[in-house]
Symmetry: C2
Amino acid sequence: MTHQQPFFELIHTSKKSGARIGRIHTAHGIIETPNFVPVATNAALKSIDSLHANSLGIDLMFCNTYHLLLHPGPDVIASCGGLHAFMNRSRPIITDSGGFQVFSLMYGGVSEELKSKGKKQQANSILKISEEGVVFRSYRDGSPMLLTAESSVQAQKKFGSDIIIPLDELPPYHTSEQTLKRMLDRTNRWELRSLNEHLASPGYQHMYGVLHGGVDRGLRKVSAQFINSHAFDGIAIGGSIGKSKDEMIELLTDIVPMLDATRPRHLLGIGDLASIERAIPLGIDTFDSSHPTKCARHGLLFTMNGFVKIEQTKYKNHNFAPDPLCTCYTCRNHSCAYLHHLFKAHEPVAHILASIHNIHMMMQLFANYRKAIAEDRI
Amino acid sequence: MTHQQPFFELIHTSKKSGARIGRIHTAHGIIETPNFVPVATNAALKSIDSLHANSLGIDLMFCNTYHLLLHPGPDVIASCGGLHAFMNRSRPIITDSGGFQVFSLMYGGVSEELKSKGKKQQANSILKISEEGVVFRSYRDGSPMLLTAESSVQAQKKFGSDIIIPLDELPPYHTSEQTLKRMLDRTNRWELRSLNEHLASPGYQHMYGVLHGGVDRGLRKVSAQFINSHAFDGIAIGGSIGKSKDEMIELLTDIVPMLDATRPRHLLGIGDLASIERAIPLGIDTFDSSHPTKCARHGLLFTMNGFVKIEQTKYKNHNFAPDPLCTCYTCRNHSCAYLHHLFKAHEPVAHILASIHNIHMMMQLFANYRKAIAEDRI
């Protein structure tokens, strides 16, 4: 009766690599790992309504606290019964702290994203960073907003996310070792305050610690020891992880062994197929990214045999599915010729069907990875 | 064994008005009348994929030959098995001749529509109108294209539309009686050529005649006699029908009695709720319009008690469906607060959910009209 299911159940580690399969147990269901975590920034996948989203077999979905803080705000979401009810999703949700987007503003990282929404780009700026937290200007109405370790956790509590992420300080790409060290110290203090805030109101939610330290192995070690020694339920790898895929893989090779193996490991914001293929053997369990839906909107369809660039003329009269073996709604019901036509005619349904396909393909890809790991083929 | 179901089965005419209920029998199923005919210009409803479209109970869908001629072209659609297979719709489809859009180019009528797609507006022009047909410049690549009575019908045959419409000449808004008369004569010659082309290759398809004559009752009478005396399966009311709703209703009041009552009557391009309410008692059977999906994209949701302007601040925290009695996917699963948020965040799912709701509401509205007519309440 008192037996409690552990949060993370490690099922098998490959005999050939660090790749592993497991199950993350949450109040809203199980997340099989390794798994892909589609990004629903504003509490909606881009161009995929909840009927399709709920039938795609998405174990975990990622929403962005920064965007939801600005609109509609945690109180509206709480009064609608939390994020699950708000967006009509019954399965697990993870949210970040909001810190990444706030700090990206300073470095211009999300300016492109904001632009692509067709909004007038306003002067986004951080007004003040202090031990308390960060004051930034809302891109929506210019009003100043304070984000602290406590307010970020409180927002995520109101969202009712299954997995929440503590506030961290994102260092710029180029920085001195000393600055990096100072920022890591503050990040650790913020993460600890976040953890305390989280543990102060017990419930079904779990918190991941965010690993920092940039490409400095020594600092990554310090960060790992900090997280390993505190009651974080999982570990999210954040901060700068190098300028190329090769650098990233080298870094992950060095740092994954520093991490407590009994906790799930999430790699923040990485979702391209090549990176995933190389990171899974290192023991990464989950990946979030808007890459598949973004590619879909640009007419790039994933298949098990490479990409279909659907706007190419060769698809104009191609009366077969983008991937004839794929079982997604799009491939079961529509041809390349139809998708090609919709893209050329700028029909919104083009984005819908392509996005459904790419997310389904990611789900299938990870199911294949899990099977391959179970059979020690990876 | 030789008994053949008539194309149009008139079931009941109200004791209170000219309103009537009936059934149009096609190879792809029955169309209950009166009914609303959503417009899927490019072989797709705007922002509604085929899974949702097929579950909305749409008896008849309208596609535009002009757009489909330019892209992907009738041959591509034919090689994909026709429009039904191409767009994954098993139920009836009606297409127009392409003439309306071609002539609208001359008068600037679709320029706004083209602009709203975010395309660079090119010089659209009619190069030549002759007895043979009309030569126009493609807005896609500037190439000259010839549209004749025969080529329009052949295109619609290749589409496999259940109901096809003959080529007509659209008069400008302001024109002399003599010009109107001359154009009507040519329209009748084109419609007759269209009918002959249609009858030359028998199949499951049916053809409507298009009623012309502008607001001139005498010419409308000539047009009605022409259509009544030829083997058109139904009658589509086209041409200028006045500059106001009142003028339109007066005109319809005068001209509907001229039409053979055993054939279904379609009112081309009219779909606002106020016009529908006044046209049904006159005996109009079907209406096509992009109005509901266009309104949806502007955040205007139809309800049985008026409109919900979902972007209004009062909906920010409104945790109820747009219409609590509505059984559409959107109302069963999402709140005004969520829809308000999606519109404010410019999420594509906003358009999806609002469009599903508005089309569902139109289907429900017409089901109510049919019931009311059956009970002689209209």
